[in-house]
Symmetry: C2
Subunit: 350 residues, 2 copies
């Protein structure tokens, strides 16, 4: 019997069962209902789910030698590819490209200047060929030069209106339901959860609550006064923290000042964060998400023979380090019953 | 009747009263007992205490138009001179000077190099004449170059062992009892309290819990591996954030990402933090501590004719801005019944 039906479809199912089955059959159906208190309901039972649950049980049980006091229960999560979709391109890059027309409207002299001219043309093939240097120009032009308040308002509007091309939904809905369950499960067990992202700290803060628990690549701001004498903070084109690779543990120290006891990532940019987490005393949880589900999301590695990518690469070296050091590797295909909260209720075991 | 007796002396007092007084007298005594729920007990009733209490009542009462949801109740506190003593010199500078002998032991070639030679001599007059550049050399030499873990251990040991020359107590005990009561009062009302210090973030984190709620002047760290291949973070001599003056609102944005609704300081270095706090929508609390109590602590301004100082100056301009913009100025002499937690219980109304 399929046990993945949502509570919402149970009443109809019961009518059908009552008609077709003997009373014994109904009792069996009840016995297989997912428990209301089941943790991580959209996860299949398997080594990944067991590792997460075992870790939380051990670190929160006072009688366990691996018990960790609540104030030290810090868990860090990469954002792109770990909490939400990063393919075919990081959402923040799409935001920056989407901002170019408004930027050119404000500064018409940019219309014939590269790389803005190419972006305005809408030619996707040409845009895909933009160099890293071109992309940096676009990022600085669309993410700096305005006040913090103006940026927040613009980015918030975008997250509410823009939709991705595959699922036709706001990007904020493209978060992985099983990972949201992990976040909730940890918080319910007095963990303080942080997003530690290579993306822009201010950008991710716009849709992540609370903002003080977002560590990301951050530029400096400049304090001054507007024409009415009101204090303002302006975003400057100067990078303070590149929160990728070694920048992740460095950013964690800068912003949190404690070593995490659990860390979740999905790419080589998360390797040092997981190593740093693992190097502390006591039980530690290090987890990587492997995108091996081309049908329900995307498939890329290049670990395990998956297609190579420039966006969120998970190399075979990283896979080997994970296996050697006892890191958990989540197979999206095998470990997750569903991918998104908007998947059918039955898939997500709701 | 003196109502400043601590609950600890009440039993003895009752015996005395029962012997000397009529039953009516005992009832009167009870009526004048400080209530167990009295807030800010070591504050004298006056405009400063009333402003703090009124602000907390207004922002936490759902029926009040100035109500603020708990997640937005951010209060920031300067450290030196606002939460603890900063005269005759900032504690962190004393820490750095105290570290010089150990530094020279590890690097004997520094013994005859200035400014280390002067510090080693112990000649206080010569040390007082060290230039800012000399002091910077000492700060960089004693605060960087080691791993984060080594620094934390050294600084923690110092805070446990070192004693100030006037009160002969660990520096961490030189915190103002009335301000500790404000911190507790705010936290009890679901405020998240942050220290926002010009001092070193890592240094202040050593004795401030939780470390993730300390924003301070911060240097970069460098992630690498030790000889055993274990990940380490090393403190680098590169300043990322000078958390003074305009650096305070900039640091608040970097580390917290929300504008405070209440801010406490004591010097010109806090001016921009208070302005930035005040520039948000809705009710805001801006508070400055004026050190006008030479007898119980120190007296310095130069506002209001107090002696001038290079350590935590409170200028007349700042005083005038405070009065003009409705900021609260705390007079240590008039507003505080006691200064420290180790003052007599009666003084502190305990």
């Amino acid at each position: 019997m399929n046990t993945q039906f949502s509570p919402r479809v149970w009443p109809a199912l019961f009518v059908a069962l009552a008609t077709l089955c003997s009373p014994l059959c109904s009792v069996l159906a009840l016995a297989e209902m997912p428990s209301a208190t089941e943790v991580l309901p959209s996860w299949n039972d398997g080594p990944a789910k067991r590792a997460i649950v075992d870790f939380v049980k051990a670190t929160t049980d006072k009688s366990n030698p691996d018990f960790v006091p609540p104030e030290e229960r810090i868990a860090t999560f990469d954002q792109d590819g770990t909490l939400w979709v990063e393919h075919p391109m990081y959402s923040q890059v799409i935001y920056c490209l989407d901002r170019v027309p408004a930027l050119v409207k404000a500064k018409p002299e940019l219309a014939n200047v590269e790389p803005f001219k190419t972006v305005l043309s809408g030619n996707r093939e040409a845009m895909a060929k933009l160099s890293t240097h071109d992309l940096e120009k676009i990022l600085f032009a669309t993410l700096t030069g305005m006040t913090v308040d103006t940026f927040n308002a613009e980015a918030k509007k975008w997250t509410e209106e823009a939709k991705d091309s595959r699922w036709k939904r706001p990007y904020t809905e493209l978060t992985y339901q099983p990972m949201q369950e992990v976040l909730s499960y940890l918080r319910a067990n007095d963990f303080k959860t942080y997003i530690v992202t290579g993306g822009g700290q201010d950008f991710v803060r716009v849709y992540s609550v609370p903002p003080e628990q977002v560590v990301g690549s951050a530029g400096s701001t400049k304090y001054s006064y507007d024409q009415q004498g009101k204090p303002i903070l302006t975003k400057e084109p100067k990078l303070l923290l590149n929160d990728n690779d070694a920048g992740k543990p460095e950013g964690i120290h800068l912003m949190i000042g404690r070593r995490p006891i659990a860390a979740f990532g999905n790419s080589t940019g998360d390797e040092q964060m997981l190593e740093y987490t693992g190097a502390g005393h006591g039980l530690r949880l290090k987890v990587l998400v492997l995108h091996d589900d081309a049908e329900r999301e995307y498939a890329y590695g290049p670990a395990q023979g998956l297609p190579d990518t420039k966006v969120g690469a998970f190399t075979q070296d990283l896979y080997d380090e994970a296996k050697k050091d006892g890191w958990v590797v989540i197979s999206m295909k095998k470990d997750w019953k569903c991918i998104f909260g908007f998947d059918s209720a039955a898939q997500c075991n709701k």
